[in-house]
Every structure is written in C-alpha cells, then in structure tokens.
Subunit: 649 residues, 2 copies
C-alpha cells in the first residue's frame, strides 16, 4: 500500500479507532451504519502486534472505502436536493404549476433510486455465519473470542430464514436507506415547529371548532373506516390465497392510522400562490397540522392496544376505551409540555434582556424549542405534538420579546431547516421505492387501500361538514367540501409512520402501499389542484395578502413593534365565519354571536393577563389585576408596556 | 405490562423495527449507539409467535428505556448549552472578561460530567459471551443461529482481554460519550466555513506572507520539536518505568501534530471586544485558521508515514519526504476543490436569477458549501481545508450575487451553526474529562507536554518572526511576538484530532494530556489575555470598526451594492504593513513597494476577469478581454455591470 492511500484518509479513518459509539449530535452523522462498522472492523487491529500490520492495513483499506462510500451516498442526497432547488427555481420562474416541487423531488429521487438499484454492483460482503446453539434469547451485545482476541458485536436484528442469503446484498443500497427514526427525530421537528411558528393565528382560531372536529373526530373516523375496510380486503386476500403471512386486525387499524394523516404541503403551496380563499386554507392547514399529531398518537395507541389482546389481536371494547384514554393523556400531556416550554422561553427572553445579543437570543430560542421535543420524548409524551404547540406558543408570546434581528433570524432559520427537511423527505421517498429491499407489492391490497382511503375521506368530510353546518350560521359550502375531499393527499407523515416499522410482512406491505399512495396523491392530486379550484368555482386571488406581502407586512409591523398576527379583539369587525357558497355571496356578515364564549373568555384572559406577563405588550398588569396584587403586577409588567399601554388606554 | 407503558413509547419504538442502520442526515440522530442496539434487540422478536409475546414485551421495555435514556442524555447537552448561553449573556451584560464563554462551557461540562460519573448507577448490561474458535479474522457482520432463529450482529470493535468485564460499565456514560467522527463531520465544518466566510480579507491578505509562514512552516517546526521532545520524555518514562505499553516515535510526532493546532476562539473574541490592533488580530486569526487545516493534513501524513516503517516506527528520510509530498498534494487538492465549488456556486447564483427566491438561494448556498466537504472526503482530500477555502471563495464572489435577504440569511445561519457547534464542543470537552472511561493520566508525560508546547511555540514564533523581519521594512515588534507566543492556546481542533483515535495506550495518554492542555490554556491564557495586552503595551480601542459596526457598515454597503470587504486596489494608500513597536510609532508610511508583485498580479486578474465573470460587479469583460473574445465577453458579463461599470469608467 502506498502511504498516500492511507494519507488521503485523514488521521482517524486511517488510524485505529475504538471509540464509544453514541452519536448525540445536531447535524449529519456521516460515518454511520456500515461506515462505523467497517471502522470498527479496522479497530480490531488496535492492539495488534507489528507482525499483524498487514491485516491492519487491510482493515484500514476497508474503513477508507467505507468512509468514501458514505460520503458519496450523502453527496447523492445533497446533489439531489441541489438539483431539486434549481428545478424549483426554473418552475417558479416559468410559473409551472402542474407539478409541485415535492413531486419533483420525488421524481428525481426515483431516477437516482433506479440508477442505484440497477447501476451499482452487488457486493458479497464479509459475512460470517456462526451457528452456536444457546439460549432462546438473543442478547444485545455479543463477545466473540476469536482465537484469543475478543471482539464485541452488537445485535442488528433478526433475519427471516429465507432471507439469509440476501442480507447485505448491496452496500450502496444499504447506505442510502437510512434509519426511520431520523424522520421522527430530525426531519419532522423542524417541519412541525415551522408549521406552528408560522401559523396564521387569526384564520386558524376563527375556524378552530371546525378544525378540531375535522382533525380529531375526522381522523379517528377515517382511521376506523380504513382499518375495517382493509380488514375486509385482507380477509378477501386470505380467501383468494394472496396473503402469505399473518395480518391481524390491529395491523389493519394501524394502517388506517398511518394513512389518515393528510399532508398539506402541495395543496397549500398552490393555495398560497393562487391566493385562494383564506378560510378554506385555514381549514385545510389546521386539519393537516393537527392531523399529523393525531395520527402519531393514534398509531401509538393502537400499538399499545395490541399487547392487550395478547393472543387474539381481535377487537376488545375495554382495551379500545383504554386506548382512547391513553390517547387523551398523551395528547394533553404533550400539549402542556409544548406550551410550558414556550412560556418559559418567553419569560427568559422577557426578563434577561437577551435581545441586546441577537445571536444568543436565536441560539436560546432554537435550543429551547428543540429541547421541548426531547423533553417530551424523555417523559414518554409525543415530541411532535409538543413541538407543534411549542411553536404556536413561541409565535404568540416569545416572538414579541425578541429583538427585530432575532425575529427575522429565527423565522429564516426555521424556514431553511423546514425547506431542506421537507425536500429531503420527498426525494428520499422517491429513492426508497427502488432502494428499499423489502417491498411487498400486493395489487389487491393496494387497490383496496386506494378505495378505502377514498371512502374514509368521504365518510370523514361530508358527515362532519353536515354536523358542523348544523351549528354554524354560515355553512361550509358544497364546493368547499368537495375541495377538502379532493385535497386529502398523503405525504411525509404517512411515510414516516410507515417506515418506522418494516419488520413484519404486514408492515412491509403497508409500507409499499403507503409509498404508492403518497406518489399517486402528490402527483395527481397535487397537479390537479389548480383545475379543481376553478372547476369548483372557488375564488382565487382574494385580497388576502400573499406570503411575501405578509412578510413585508410583518416587517413593517415589526418595525413599529406590533405583532401583525395578534388576534383581533373578539368584538371588532374582523370576525367572520367561513362561508363558501360561492365567490359572490355576501361576506360582510358580522358574527359576534358566533365567536364562542370559551374563545372570548380565553381571549380576554390572554390579553389581560398572559400577554402582559409573558411579553412586553398588552395592558399593564397593574390595571388588569386586582389591587391587592399591586406589587406582583409591578414586578411582572415591563416598563415598555406603560409606554405602549398609555397610548392604548 | 400496562398498555400505557408501551403507548408512551410512540409507534415505532414500542414496535419491532428491523431497518437498515445508516444515518445519513443533517441534525440529531437521537437513537443511536446503545439505543439502536436495544431497539435492534427489541426487533429480535420480529417474527415472534404469539406465545413469545412476553419476551417481545420485555424487549419493548428495554427499547423504551433506552430511547428515554437517549433523550435524557441529549437533553443534558441542550440544557448545558442553554445554561451556557444564559451565563454568557450575564457575563456580557456585566462586562466580565476574566472568563470567556468557552471556558464557561467547559466548566459547566465538567460539573455535569462529575454528576454523571458519580451520580448514575453502573448497569450490568445484558451481554452474552460467546467463545467460538474460528479463523483469525474478525468479520464485520455475524449471523448467529439461536435455536433456529437467525440474528444479525455487527462488529463494534476489539476489546483488550483485561477490559472484558468493564465493557458497558455504565450506560449513561456511554451515551454521553459520542463518536469522534461527529466532531469532524458535523461540528467542525460550520465552524471552519464560518471562519472562511467571515474572514476580513483586507487584513488577511495584507499579511498573507507572514500568515502562511507561521501557519505552514511554524506548525511544522512546532510539530517536529514537540514530537522530538516528547520522544525524549517517553524514553525517560521508559527508564523510570512509568510507561506500561508501547509508545513509538511516530506516536510522538502525531502528538506534535495534533497539539500544534492553535485555537483562536478565546483570544480573538477578546481582541474583538477590546478592538485590539487589527494586524495582530489578522496574524493570529490567519495563523490559527490555516493551522487547523495544516494540523489535520500533517497528522494524516504522519499516520500515512507510519506503515512505511512497518516494524521500525523510526525515522526514515525517504518516507518523510514522501509525507511532505502527500501533504502538499492533499492541501492543494483540497484547496482547489473548495475554490471550485465556490466558483460553481457563484456561477449558478449569477446566471439563474435565484435571487428572486431568497429561500432557494440560501438553501442552495448551504447545500453547495456542505457538499464541498463531502466531495473532498469522497475524493480522498481533506474536507476541512476544502470547506475553509470554499468559505473564502463564497464570501469573495458568491456573496456579491446573493440577494440582500440571502446575504444576511446565510451569514446568520452560519453564525448560529458556528456558535452552537463551538459551545457544544467546549461543553463536551468539560464533560469528557469525567465521562470518558479510558483516561491514562501520566504526570511525567503531562508536564513534559506542557514544557514541549511552550518550547515548540517559542521555537516557532521567535525564529520565524526574526526571518520574516529580515524581509519586512516594518518589523513585527517584540511585544507582538510575545503576544503571539502567549496566545498559542489549544482548543477544539486539538481535541477533535486527539479524540479521533483513542484505541491504543499511547493515544489514550495523548488524549488525556490534550484535554488537560486545552483546559489549562483556555482558562489561564484566555483569562490572561486582557492583562497581557496592557502589559505588553499593545494598543486597544483602535479606530478599526468593531464587529457590530462592521456589520452595520457592511449593511450600508449591501444597500448600495458594493462589497465592503473588497480588496483595495494595490496601488492606493490603504496598504500598510504590520508594525508593532509601540502604539505611537508612525503608521502612515506607504508600502507600495512592499505589496508583492504576485499579489498585484492576482489582484488585477481577479478584478479584471474573475469578478466580472463570477459576479455582477467589476468592469465589463468587453473592456478587459481582448477584442476577439467579444461575443464570449458579452455573454458572461451581466447587464448590471454596465450600469455600475459605466460610472466606474
């Protein structure tokens, strides 16, 4: 070996490393999976005698090769993203609307997946089969005594006997197929946080009741209907002899849960571009954001419910209600945790005057928001739900305390992270169709699933809209209902939930089906949004500010120190409810009566107490709190409030 | 087990996952190391029969516990950083200068390390020892047949026979001690890129010759001297009987290489705050930035050089010169790669009019800069060097093509990443002193190392300054030399290089010693910078713009479309060389003669050809290129140039 070969490696790679293996870090772990493994293989020469130098060189070579492969595979993703960005620009530049950037990212992913699948040679690997009859239980760590040297092995997983020969079939495919936990712990938090942080609160809260109904009840209904329909499909498959392994009722329900989460990305991007009706936008956005959280909690409840029917996997009413209880417990716990972290951040940034150092402020903001996710996970709640509500709280309170620079900085930071994570997920989805090695394509199941999600969506939108319309003066029109029905496309969340567990036959079939559903809905439905909008006669180009205008608007507000997203007082004119009977129907009706008392109660509590305590705005606490809390009120109210408040009063 | 226990897990964790294990992603991989391992253990139940449901539950519990521990350990770091940020604010607020933020981060890390070390119970683990005599070679993957079920194991590394019982001694300590590759691949790139991107080019290039001499020659001299001195120390230890294992000459040289990289962070932060002499700042900053790159390439060359003397590990002149060749090859290759990526980004952002979509622009900029690192690693060059020069090129060319929003956005993004990465490294260093489980404290070696780095620094600064002064009209004064001598503190890079390989006894001793040297220099020298500056009579508060002012200044320039960091024309008045004889000596001397012809050549080439080709500024190519290139010149020159250029001409 030429010295240069090893030299080009960099110090540690060529050298012999035996470090602890936990990666705890933000940003890219380049050298994992096989990379680390090979590096560990290299490390086997650690205490080697000089005589074993040749062996050491061989393992060094292996480590070098592996590191290079890792870099290449990551580079593949980066270049994919770069290509996507350039094409997005081209599309935006030429105002192409039939294919959204996410669909594009998937297509590029598909192409690269095909190349990787059929263009890279299969490697035979250095596997060693060891047959040692021992206890029934597999241990997580194994010490192997190889002629006097001890090697530590870690368990990777069980392999079904039929697949022993296909293990490690292709290193490159393995490398580009990464751990599903990454979706949950790395890619989703910034996406969800951004959703919460950039939520247009006014329209969201105006339609809160309907949104909650669609998100909670609707998703549950959809999950249950899809689950039952799929159980029928599975029974049918069993009869026809299309099913080669177990598929329980709980598996069907699980499929219902993961496929019920709708994805807003494509449709909302188009809505935004066309300036479509804001209330429809709010309904869809609100539903899909809460949807994700609901789907996560729902699917975890179903998994929890599974062990209860240990050997039955059948329906059990008691266990079902237990699941509902768990669902509510996890949801409220996560909600509280997110809100509390937001409040703590608001208090820190209010009382420390961090805003003199925008960099520190942004870093703190970022860390606190991220720690919400970890805290929730550590406590056994759902990090995604916590991070969503943390985002909403941060936008509502903390945002007001940030310096002007930090406001734009945090928004931009999360915007970039969100954009990168989202496009990464979509290009990865395209890639996975060819690089994932355990696909189970079952035409019957796939067709059944398409029918089921259609029926599930219909059984969710139309009846719920009917009931909601009973309680609303201004109804949700048929065209809105049809649009909501049409917009139920599936995206990142369904994929992330499906890839999380692909161990059993049933789960592999679900994963393949989910992937195809995502492809279909993103391409067909995403592309059909614009024609559908005009066909359904939903007005576009409403006078509502576009995204950029809003940013500009926001900036102007920032400069004068007011939050543009601030909820309007509940008794002013801006309260309108949704009405969608047609673009020309009267929109000026006042709806004072319709804004629920609960909401008004919350608004005045928020405006009179929370805002003054947590931010520099709102009326001084000295005026809103009873007289006997005078001292406390003076401590908690920031001096700035008096300046602004004075004008307000 | 209550269903709730598993439910709180979230779907996948409680469930049985058998996914490929490669993590390819930006941002935090939460569930690694033991976490994954335990999850894999859980997956062992994958195709379990219903009868083995209890076993499945047990592994699920294990997976749950492991995930929770992972979240907690990451949370520890996040809270450490949060605490550090709050204290930094307090220090800045109260203008405390005796302890820099990095020193602070280390102290917090130390405290948490002590708590983790002595406060968490040791866990016995579920290890299984397997004694199967087989071939001499350890395989990277092992298939184990456990009573008919097949499990896949991956090699983690060799364990020295004496340590078999201490493996997995404490899960928590293992968890917080993460993979050293993370430093190189995740934490260092943003730090180095930021250094390149925010380089104050004018002062840097003004002193380029001296900086290169200090960085290249100086570091090599320092490495060689420290290496030889340490070899003496090691010999001495062998005689005294303090050395219990092998320690080769190349190990000593390696130590010299890793400990020769000086860290600018603390000193430069104080320089910045005090507005100390800009030329001294440029010298120290330039040295330390290039230093890092030199140390990386140097240490990898030494590792490459090692196998050449297979059974001697002694000095070999031919191999040494080969190393020098490798060194130059890697360095120039990496340099070219970084510069080329920068140029490509500049061209893309010039010709695509991406600046209409700042988000796309920022994302592209981020991805291209990151891909430099990966590309260099994939090609066998040094990513860190490539990313440094990529940063410089991006700042020089691409920056001019970015939209106003993207300019601030990219700067802020990398500022935040840099800040977080840096503080993370320092708090991790504090933590490592207690959580790292393979320390080898050798008082003789440590004392020897302190003496050696002192002598090495002295043998590098004073003779080099003497030779440099021979060629300079305006000498580097004694006070500047003393300050440079004093400022040679070691930081993140030395630590990252040392932790990269801690397999052998020698490397463990080096790691421990490096850690202590970093602590000492950051605390003592970092804290002593301010008194030292006044004692050496180096003027502070010079009229040079402070960081914030410069940003403001830059902003003002951005608004009028001019790059404030633009090199001044080489024949105007702003060329001054360093002189440091005292704060009052004449600084007005013109130095037209001293600006090297090479630099002037480069400047005019850059100004007349590169800038017009790569950016929207500079004179139109139609005026600078010969007439026969007219068409090409018209294509490459952007219309904006004519507007600006017209005024310039």
């Amino acid at each position: 070996m030429e010295p240069g070969d090893a030299a080009r490696l960099g110090p540690g790679r060529a050298a012999r490393a035996l470090p602890p293996r936990l990666l705890l870090l933000p940003l890219l772990p380049l050298l994992l999976g096989r990379g680390l493994r090979a590096a560990a293989a290299a490390s086997s020469g650690a205490a080697a005698e000089d005589s074993s130098a040749m062996e050491e060189l061989a393992t060094e070579k292996e480590a070098e090769e592996s590191h290079r492969q890792d870099s290449v595979s990551l580079l593949t993703f980066i270049l994919l993203l770069t290509l996507t960005i350039l094409t997005i620009w081209l599309f935006k530049h030429r105002r192409v609307r039939f294919l959204h950037e996410t669909g594009l990212a998937m297509i590029y992913g598909l192409i690269v997946g095909v190349i990787l699948r059929y263009g890279t040679p299969a490697t035979s690997g250095h596997d060693k089969s060891l047959s040692c009859t021992q206890e029934d239980r597999a241990f997580s760590t194994l010490l192997v005594n190889v002629s006097g040297k001890f090697f530590e092995y870690t368990l990777k997983g069980e392999i079904s006997p039929g697949k022993i020969n296909s293990v490690e079939q292709n290193d490159m495919l393995r490398k580009v197929t990464f751990d599903p936990e990454v979706f949950f712990n790395i890619l989703l938090p910034p996406i969800i946080f951004h959703a919460g942080y950039s939520l247009k609160k006014r329209h969201f809260f105006r339609n809160l009741g309907s949104i909650l109904a669609y998100a909670f009840l609707g998703t549950a209904v959809s999950c249950f209907i899809i689950g039952n329909l799929m159980y029928g499909v599975v029974k049918l498959m069993k009869i026809v002899g299309q099913l080669s392994d177990k598929f329980y009722y709980t598996d069907c329900l699980f499929f219902g849960a993961i496929i019920s989460a709708t994805d807003p990305v494509t449709v909302l991007a188009i809505f935004n571009e066309l300036h479509a009706d804001v209330d429809l936008y709010a309904l869809l956005f609100g539903e899909s954001v809460l949807n994700d959280a609901v789907a996560i909690v729902l699917s975890s409840s179903i998994v929890a419910y599974q062990p209860a029917g240990l050997n039955t996997h059948a329906f059990d009413a008691a266990a079902f209600f237990k699941s509902v209880g768990i669902f509510l417990g996890i949801f409220s716990g996560s909600f509280t945790m997110g809100a509390v972290t937001g409040v703590v951040t608001a208090l820190i940034s209010k009382f420390t005057k961090l805003h003199c150092f925008p960099l520190l402020e942004t870093a703190l903001f970022f860390l606190m928001s991220w720690s919400t996710f970890l805290l929730a996970e550590a406590c056994g709640f759902t990090g995604v739900v916590a991070v969503l509500f943390c985002g909403i709280t941060q936008a509502h309170y903390t945002y007001n305390n940030l310096s002007v620079e930090s406001r734009s900085r945090t928004k931009q930071l999360f915007e970039v992270l969100h954009f990168l994570a989202e496009n990464f997920i979509f290009s990865y989805m395209g890639l996975a169709l060819f690089t994932f090695q355990k696909h189970v394509f079952s035409p019957v199941f796939i067709i059944g699933a398409f029918v089921a999600i259609f029926l599930g969506r219909a059984a969710h939108i139309y009846p719920l809209s009917f009931f909601l319309n009973l309680g609303r003066r201004h109804k949700i029109g048929w065209n809105f209902q049809h649009m909501m029905m049409f917009s139920g496309l599936r995206g990142a969340m369904a994929f992330a939930l499906a890839i999380r567990d692909t161990a059993s036959y049933a789960r592999q079939m679900m994963f393949t089906t989910t992937l195809l559903i995502v492809f279909f809905t993103v391409w067909i439905i995403g592309g059909g949004t614009t024609p559908m909008l005009s066909w359904l006669n939903i007005r576009v180009g409403v006078e509502e500010l576009s995204e950029e205008d809003q940013n500009e608007h926001r900036w102007r507000y920032i400069r004068v120190g007011v939050d543009p997203d601030q909820d309007p007082p509940p008794n002013n004119d801006s309260f309108q409810v949704l009405q969608g009977d047609g673009p020309d129907s009267a929109r000026g009706n006042r709806t004072k009566q319709e804004s629920a008392w609960l909401f008004r109660l919350w608004y005045s509590f928020d405006h009179n107490y929370l805002k003054p305590i947590l931010t520099h705005s709102g009326p001084p606490l000295t005026t809103t709190l009873p007289a006997w809390c005078g001292l406390l009120a003076r401590c908690l109210t920031s001096p700035q409030v008096y300046d602004v408040g004075g004008e307000e009063l």
